[in-house]
Amino acid sequence: MRGACTVFQKELLSYFVSPVSWIVAVVFYLWRGYELSSMAHYAMLVRADPDLFASATYTLPSTTAMVLLVPALLTMRCFAEERRTGSIELLATAPVRDGEVVLGKWAAATVFYALLWLPSCLLLHVLEYGPFLATDLSFGPVFAAYLGMFLLSAMLLAFGCFASSLTDNVLLAAMLAFLFDFGLVSLPAQVRANLGELAQHYYVRELLDKLDVGRNFDDWFARGLIDTSQVAFYAGGVLFFLFLCTASVASRRVA
C-alpha cells in the first residue's frame, strides 16, 4: 500500500494546484448558492413545507452536474495525461504495482471530490437563518442523500479512471466518462419502458432495478434510508471499475 499512499498524496496535491479544480469549485458554489437562495425565497413565498426543502435540492441542476459531470472532469487526466506526456513510463518502471497506482489515483480523486462536494451541505445550514427560511431543517435525510450521491460519484470516479486509462486524449476520456455517467442514470428507465413484456421477466426486472441508480436513490437515500444492498452495489461497482482500470493499465505488460 506504500505505492498507493504515495500516488494518493501526489495526485491530491496535483488537484489542489490544478486550475481546473478551482474553476469547478468556484463555478459550482456560485451556481449552488444562487440556486439555493432562489429556491429559499420561492419556498418562503409559497409557504412550502420546510421538511420537503432538503429533498427538493437533489433535483437541482447543480446537483446533477456535480454527480454526473464533475467525476468525468476530475478523472479525465488520471492516466490519459500520463500517457500523453509519457510520464506513464516513469510510473510503470517504478517498483510499484499497477493496482496501487490505480487505487492511489482513484482515492485522490474521491477525496478531492468529497472535499469539493460535501461542504455544500453546509449551505443548507446557512439557509436555516433569518433572511432565508428561518426554520430548522431535518438533516438526517440530507446526510443519507449526501452519502448516496457520494457513493454513486465514487463509482463514477472509478469509471472515470478506467475511461482515462483507455486513451491518451484527455477530452475523449472525459466524454467517455460523461456518456457512461449519463447512460447509467437515464438508460435503465428507458430500457424498461422499451422492453415491454421482457421487462417483467424476473432476472431482467431485478437487473434493471439494481442498475436504475436514479430510482434507487429516490427510493432509499433521498428518504433518509441507508440500505446495505445499495451500499454494496456501489462498493462493488467501485471495485469492478478499479479492476478494469488496473487490467487496462497492466495490459501494456502483456506480450
Binding site: 506513464i88 518502471t93 506480450a255
Partner: protein, 323 residues
Amino acid sequence: MIRVFALTKRFGQTLAVDRLGFEVARGEVVGFLGPNGAGKTTTIRVLTGYHPATSGQATVDGFDVERQSLAARQRIGYLPENVPIYPELRVVEFLRYRAALKGVPPRQRTAAVERAMQKADVGEVARKLVGHVSRGFRQRVGLADALVANPPILILDEPTSGLDPNQRRRIKQVVRELAAEHTILFSSHILAEVQDVSTRILVIHRGTLRADGVPERLVAEAVGRRLCVAARCSQDALLALVREVAGTAAVPEPAPEGLGACSAVLQPGQDPTGALGERLLAAGIAVRELRLVAPTLEQYFAHITEGSDRAEELAAAGGAEVA
C-alpha cells in the same frame, strides 16, 4: 548484473528486437550504440519492465524482469529518452515523490534527495517548478530521479539527446563520476559520447547485436588501421615499396610537386612502419610522413551498419533478379 538471452520483441508484424543477447558485468559502463530505430529503446523498455518481451529472457541483478518485475525494477535507476516529469511539482517535490515511490524509507528520504541532487548537480533549481527549468536541467533532474534510490544499475536512454554541447559535456562528466558506484548501460546514437564514457560498447542494428567489445579493439579489428606515407620520390616508386612491405594494395594519395604519397589499409595487428622506414632509408629517400592512422568509431559504425544494409540490399536485389 544485466543478462539478456535471445530476447525478441515484436510490435504486430514489426520485429523490433531479434534474438538479442548480451551481458553487462558489475561495475561496467556499457555504451549501447545503434542508429535511430535500431531497437535500443525497445530493449531498454523490456529491461525496465515497461514492455514485455515476445520471447527470450532478461534478468537484472539475478531477477527476471517479467516474473520478478518489482524486484528487478527496484534495482534499476532509469532515465528515459524524453524525461517526462510533472510540471506542477517543484524539483525537490518531484524527487521526494519519486523517492517515496521507489521505497526509500521516510527518514532517509531527505538525505537521499539531497544526495541525488548533489550528484546530478541540480541544487540550484531545487525550488523551481519542473516545468520551468531548462532542457539541460530537466535531463539532470531525470538523472537525479534515476539516482534517488541509489540503485546498483543505471539505464540511461540517450541522456544527452537535444542538449547543447556544454550541457552534453556536463552530463557526460556526471555519468563518468557515477561509473565508480554503479553499473551503467548508456544508450546513444552519438558515437563520440559513447566512446568518451563507456568501457565497452554493444552495437545493435535492426534489432540484432552486431558487435560487442572494447571500442578501440573492435574498431582496430574490424576496419583495420591505415598506413600513410609521404616521401621525396616518385609516386610509383613509393607505391612499389609500400606494396612490398605491407603486402597489401596501396593507393596513391594527392601530394605536392616532387613528393610521392600513398596509403594502405593494414590487416589487424600488422605494423610495417619500422620495415618501411628502413627500406626508405636504405634507398636514400627522405621521409616526410610515416604514420599509422586508427579508424574512428564513426567509420567502424558506418562499416557495420551501412555495410550490412548494403549487403542486405544487394542480396535482396540478387534475389529479385533470380526471381
